[in-house]
């Protein structure tokens, strides 16, 4: 996941690399996602997470499109 200054630069990068555009989140959304995603990673009890838990995290951030679909 790469950092861009604007939508325009994302389009340029996609075009140059012949890639389809994915999803774009603001840095604030990514910070909120990071807190939910990584806050328990140093715990001995962390053994990965279920697809249900991943879906719950995405939902909390408002990531509901097909792009974020979790295969169960």
């Amino acid at each position: 996941m790469l950092l861009f200054r604007s939508e325009e630069w994302i389009d340029k990068w996609c075009q140059r690399n012949n890639l389809e555009r994915g999803e774009v989140l603001t840095i604030h959304q990514v910070w909120e996602l990071s807190k939910l995603w990584y806050q328990d990673r140093l715990s001995l009890d962390y053994h990965g997470r279920s697809t249900e838990k991943v879906a719950e995290i995405f939902k909390k951030i408002g990531l509901k499109s097909k792009f974020w679909y979790i295969q169960k």
């Binding site: 990068w13 840095i27 806050q39």
Partner: protein
Amino acid sequence: MLSNDSLLWQIRHFVYNHFADTTLPPSVDETAAYFNISTEEAGDYYRELHNHHAFFLKPDTLTIRMANPFSGIPTDFKVYVNGKTYYANCAWDMLGIPALLQCDAVMDAKFTESNESVQLEIKNGQINSNVTLSDSEGSLPRQTETLRSRRTLPQSDMLLVHFPLPFSHWYDDLTFT
């Protein structure tokens, strides 16, 4: 399948805490010594944890390349915390390090394509919107760093992170992702 599931997750825990403490992953020999097991056995646990996506080994080695958000090699995403410098795997992981360590951080990164350097800060759980841009590294000699033009973005909302692949394909090629 390894016999000791408890040890498997203790090793995962050890690897993450080693990264947090030292900024680097432990070698398989260090892990073997810490748990008083053979290097071969530690290697089997490393491979098992790799298969669990708990961390990721460099292809055909027992060297840890990524334990997200930590990177085992230098990248364009630097995170400064409590006098230590960590490397993150991507823009998301750059924010993942202060989230994981639950502390303030200063981060140096590069904008993709426009190639400007950018500095961000996490303070008291918030992203500091006073983002500083400077000319890309290498455009000026190191000794003239203080002369680099520095300017501030009007709003941190202009900072965007592009997720190129849908979640269902994140683990197909993690280095690309």
